[in-house]
Symmetry: C2
Subunit: 159 residues, 2 copies
C-alpha cells in the first residue's frame, strides 16, 4: 500500500462554514448552493453525513477566506427558507490531502494518514475522500507538523 | 459552468456504515481504520463532519456489499476501545458522481446536481467532494432516475 501514495498537498485558503440541522429532504442542498452560485461564490469542499434522526443533518463546506463574510451574509439573508438552526463560520483551518493514484482501497492509506496526524496530537475536524484522494481539515497551526509527519510516513521525504 | 462536467458515474457495490458519536480527539480515526486494514477490508468513501459539541461526531464510510457482515463483526469486536454509541449498517445505497475536470468551483455544478436530484424527489444521504468530482449516496431505487436526470441537466444525453 505504501507505494500507492504519490504526494501530499495542502490549501491554506479555506474558511469553513457549517449549517447546523438543515432539513433532510429533497431540495434542501440545492436551495443552499443556489444563492451561493448566484453570488458567484466559489465553494471547494462539501461534506454532509447521514441524518442522525432522519429529520435534519449538518452541511459543511469551505470557501476562500476572502469570500467568508459575503457567504455568511448570503446565507443569513436566506435563513428563513433554508431552515438551519445555526451557522458556524471559521477561518483558521487548512485542507491537507494525500494523493494515491492506484488506491484500490482507502483503508491502509487512510489509517496511515490518520495515525501520522494522531501521533502529533493533531485533531481531524472533517474527512472527505474520492477514488484517488483523502482530504482532511485541521487547525492551521498544525500545517507544517502535519506535512512533515505525512511525508515521513509515506516515505516522501524531500531533501 | 456547463461545459465543465465531463461525465456521470455510479457504483452499486456500496454498503454504508455509520459509527455514531465517536470521540472527537486525535487517534480515534486511526483506531477505526486500523482493524479494518488489518482485516483487509476495502473502504471506499469516508465522510466525517465537524463535531456538533466538540466531544463526539459521526463517522460514515462505505465498503463493498460482500464485506458488510465482516466489517460489522470487526467493529463490534472493537466497540470497547472505539467508544461509538451506535453502529448503523445499511445496504440499498448507491454512489452517484459528477466529474468535472475544469471545476474551479463546485458551486454551480453542485447546485445543478442537487437540483436535478431534488426535481425527481431523490433525497441526498451523504455528500463528499474532491477537486474534480462531487459524489452523493442515494437510495438504490432511484439510481436510473438519478442518472437520467443528471445526463439531461448536464447535456450529456446519450443516444
Ligand atoms: C440535507 C440535504 O442533502 C437533503 N437531504 C437534500 O437532498 O437536499
Ligand atoms: C473523529 C476523529 O476524526 C478524531 N477527530 C481524530 O482526529 O481522529
Amino acid at each position: 500500500e505504501k507505494a500507492v501514495v504519490s504526494g501530499v498537498t495542502y490549501s491554506r485558503d479555506e474558511a469553513k462554514i457549517t449549517l447546523r440541522k438543515v432539513p433532510d429532504r429533497p431540495g434542501v442542498a440545492a436551495s443552499i448552493f443556489g444563492p451561493l452560485a448566484d453570488s458567484a461564490i466559489n465553494v471547494d469542499m462539501i461534506v454532509q453525513n447521514i441524518s442522525p434522526d432522519t429529520k435534519s443533518t449538518d452541511m459543511t463546506f469551505t470557501v476562500g477566506r476572502s469570500d467568508l463574510d459575503r457567504t455568511v451574509q448570503v446565507l443569513e439573508s436566506h435563513r428563513e427558507d433554508l431552515g438551519f438552526s445555526d451557522l458556524v463560520a471559521e477561518e483558521g483551518v487548512v485542507k491537507v490531502s494525500v494523493i494515491g493514484v492506484g488506491m484500490r482501497s482507502h483503508t491502509g492509506v487512510a489509517q496511515q494518514m490518520f495515525q501520522a496526524l494522531a501521533s502529533k496530537g493533531i485533531n481531524i475536524q472533517v474527512i472527505t475522500t474520492s477514488e484517488i484522494k483523502i482530504s482532511v481539515l485541521i487547525d492551521e497551526a498544525y500545517l507544517e507538523l502535519a506535512l512533515r509527519s505525512l511525508h515521513t510516513v509515506y516515505g516522501l521525504d524531500v531533501t
